[in-house]
């Protein structure tokens, strides 16, 4: 395996209190190599999404560490973690999670807007627009730049979401059931896009219960009872 870029070490995570207490992760260990396309599979409710959220720094573990190139990002102070999240990770969600009031182009520009202040933005605007348009072109959405999300199909929305995740040139792309709500044909298209990215060297963690998607990954692991149970080399 190539050099480890991201690693979860002994992660514990639970939700609720008293009767509603649920222990989701119980000492989960997971390492992702640079340029690796890792699929995390598991039954519904097994904690796949939680692993992804903890890895990406949008959730914090109760116990354990998340190391990015050896540095524990789970213990970082909020502002610094936000910065790390905006520079290292890109997220693709099952329900696309696009901002409905903004066009496809504006949605893709959003990560760059978050990174830039009001004063810096005018200087970055032209370059950011160029890159956003290029990404949307690559996603075959060159004709849909100014469409609002609700004017796009599910597959198109997910491609916009992938373009948005790639906008900030993330070191690790975290995808949570990216084909979960799509029909078979559209799901296959999205898989193609993701596998292309994987082939191009994009480090990626795919949380999925879609066997076809998981089988296309370099490696797949199964999450059961809050722990990574098995690992297998894939494509």
């Amino acid at each position: 395996m190539s050099e480890t870029i991201l690693e979860a070490v002994g992660i514990y995570k639970s939700y609720g209190k008293g009767r509603t207490y649920v222990s989701v992760l119980e000492g989960t260990n997971l390492a992702i190599g640079e340029g690796e396309l890792l699929a995390v599979v598991g039954a519904s409710g097994s904690g796949k999404s939680t692993v992804l959220h903890v890895l990406g720094g949008i959730d914090t573990p109760d116990k354990g560490a998340v190391l990015y190139r050896g540095e524990d990002i789970s213990k970082m102070w909020g502002g610094r973690r936000d910065l790390v999240r905006s520079r290292i990770f890109g997220f693709v969600f099952q329900f696309y999670h696009l901002l409905h009031e903004f066009t496809a182009l504006e949605n893709v520009l959003m990560p760059e807007m978050i990174r830039q202040g009001v004063l810096a933005w005018p200087g970055r605007r032209a370059a950011a627009h160029k890159r956003a348009k290029l990404l949307l072109d690559q996603m075959q959405l060159g004709e849909r730049l100014y469409h609002k999300p609700l004017e796009l199909s599910g597959g198109e929305q997910q491609r916009v979401a992938i373009a948005r995740a790639l906008m900030a040139e993330p070191k690790v792309l975290l995808c949570d059931e990216p084909t979960g709500t799509l029909d078979a044909k559209t799901g296959k298209e999205i898989m193609g896009v993701l596998f292309d990215l994987g082939r191009a060297g994009q480090t990626m963690v795919l949380v999925t219960h879609d066997e076809r998607l998981a089988s296309g990954a370099h490696r797949r692991v199964t999450l059961a009872d809050g722990r990574i149970r098995q690992g297998a080399r894939g494509a």
Binding site: L83, R85, L99, I114, A120
Partner: protein
């Protein structure tokens, strides 16, 4: 940059925002209009009182006033560097009984009576201390110029405008521009002497003084100094007080003049027998009441803005609830919790700024066209909000104080900011994981 983009987009897409903007605008407009008019009234009242009262008054405590070298006292005070003019006076509380000539030539006695604060002075001196002629209907030295006052045979009296305005039931009299009393009508003044004996003199009205200050116009009678002494049966070398005009009226000048006058009089007037006060000190109760009224109005109208603040809070909380998912997405993309909070703070402050700007423009426009608006209301409804005869004002006084307007706008923005805090904090504290799951 994303904060500005989101605020602008939310503002454009949320028409409901019009309501808190209108609330803030109305509050700011009401404050600008009411504060401008209140300040106009206050300034107008102050200038009227200021015009009819000397800068300072030296008042003798004794009911019989000061008896002695009055000319010497006057000269000593005139010699003080800060003093511009001096006018000794005799004053007292009296009862005025007006006798109106009837249409058939007969005389109706005791048509009405009215308590008055009468003051006797030398017209020329008094006119130097305060601009007396400006307030008189005939605008001249009525004591000297009018035939009724000539020769010292008849007591000439200047009466307050509100006394002159009194209506006389069943009596047909010629009505002048300023009321029913005019030159030549009889007036009897009754008072008490320093030894508390009743004293009365009958005189003729020679002029009417109109200051626009209710208290002065309702209860004032002016007469020559000698006649006032005669009325009160005080000796020729006596006065109750001395009106003093200063070259400059300010805190330093007043303090210096008070000190120098006391020093100048030290050897001829007993130090504890008199008091020196400014016109503001004498009218402190009234001036404080007017200023207090303005503050109370500002306080009451401030709740307009607080109300608008609640509207801002309600709208923003609604938007936060509606945008839970968006907030989660932004957080996932690296937006900080403070960045998310600032979206709603900027949003609220923008509502405040837009509302305050609209309210300021509307308020200033309203104030500038107050008389036209009043006329319009009068023409359309027959109701006159500011009857000119009630306040003796040709137009509604108003002062557009830009500092005050700045404070009003700043208050509106601060209220909007405060109103946005709860929704902003709520948005900032949203758990991004929960927010993303929200679908």
């Amino acid at each position: 940059m994303f904060k500005l983009a989101l605020v602008l987009r939310y503002l454009r897409k949320r028409r409901i925002t019009i309501f808190p903007i209108a609330g803030v605008a109305l509050g700011v407009m009401a404050l600008v209009v009411v504060m401008s008019v209140m300040q106009g009234f206050e300034t107008d009242f102050r200038s009227r009182i200021r015009g009819i009262m000397p800068d300072m008054s030296l008042t003798f405590y004794d009911v019989g006033g000061f008896v002695g070298d009055v000319d010497g006292v006057v000269k000593r005070i005139e010699g003080v560097g800060e003093v511009r003019a001096v006018s000794p006076y005799v004053s007292g509380l009296g009862l005025a009984v007006v006798k109106v000539p009837a249409g058939d030539g007969g005389l109706y006695e005791n048509v009405f009576n009215q308590y008055v604060n009468f003051q006797g002075f030398d017209f020329a001196r008094q006119d130097k201390v305060l601009n007396l002629k400006k307030f008189l209907q005939y605008g001249e030295d009525s004591f000297a110029a009018h035939p009724y006052g000539k020769g010292g045979q008849v007591m000439p009296v200047i009466v307050g405008a509100r006394i002159a305005k009194r209506k006389f039931e069943g009596v047909r009299v010629k009505t002048t521009d300023w009321g029913n009393l005019d030159r030549g009508m009889q007036i009897q003044l009754m008072t008490f002497t320093p030894s508390y004996e009743r004293s009365k003199k009958t005189g003729l009205i020679v002029d009417v003084v109109s200051t626009g200050v209710y208290d002065i116009d309702e209860h004032t009678a002016y007469l020559p100094l000698d006649w006032a002494r005669a009325l009160r049966e005080m000796p020729a070398n006596s006065v109750n007080g001395i009106g003093i005009a200063l070259k400059e009226y300010n805190e330093e000048s007043v303090a210096a003049a008070t000190k120098h006058i006391r020093e100048a009089l030290a050897d001829i007037v007993a130090p504890g027998s008199f008091d020196i006060s400014t016109w503001e000190e004498e009218r402190r109760t009234f001036l404080t009441a007017v200023a207090m009224e303005r503050r109370i109005m500002a306080f009451i109208l401030f709740f307009f803005l607080v109300n608008a603040g609640f509207a801002i809070s309600a709208i923003l909380i609604m938007i936060v609830l509606e945008k839970v998912r968006d907030i989660g997405i932004l957080r996932a993309m690296g937006a900080s919790s403070s960045g998310v909070a600032s979206i709603f703070l900027v949003y609220g402050v923008t509502i405040g700024l837009v509302g305050a700007a609209l309210g300021l423009v509307a308020g200033v426009t309203f104030v500038e066209n107050l008389d036209y608006i009043e006329q319009f209301i009068y023409q359309q409804t027959g109701w006159q909000p500011f009857p000119p005869n009630l306040y003796d004002l040709p137009e509604i006084p108003r002062i557009l104080n830009w500092w005050m307007n700045f404070y009003i706008v700043a208050t509106a923005v601060v209220v909007s900011f405060a109103a946005s805090l709860i929704p902003a904090v709520r948005a900032a504290w949203l758990d991004p994981v929960e927010a993303i799951r929200y679908e």
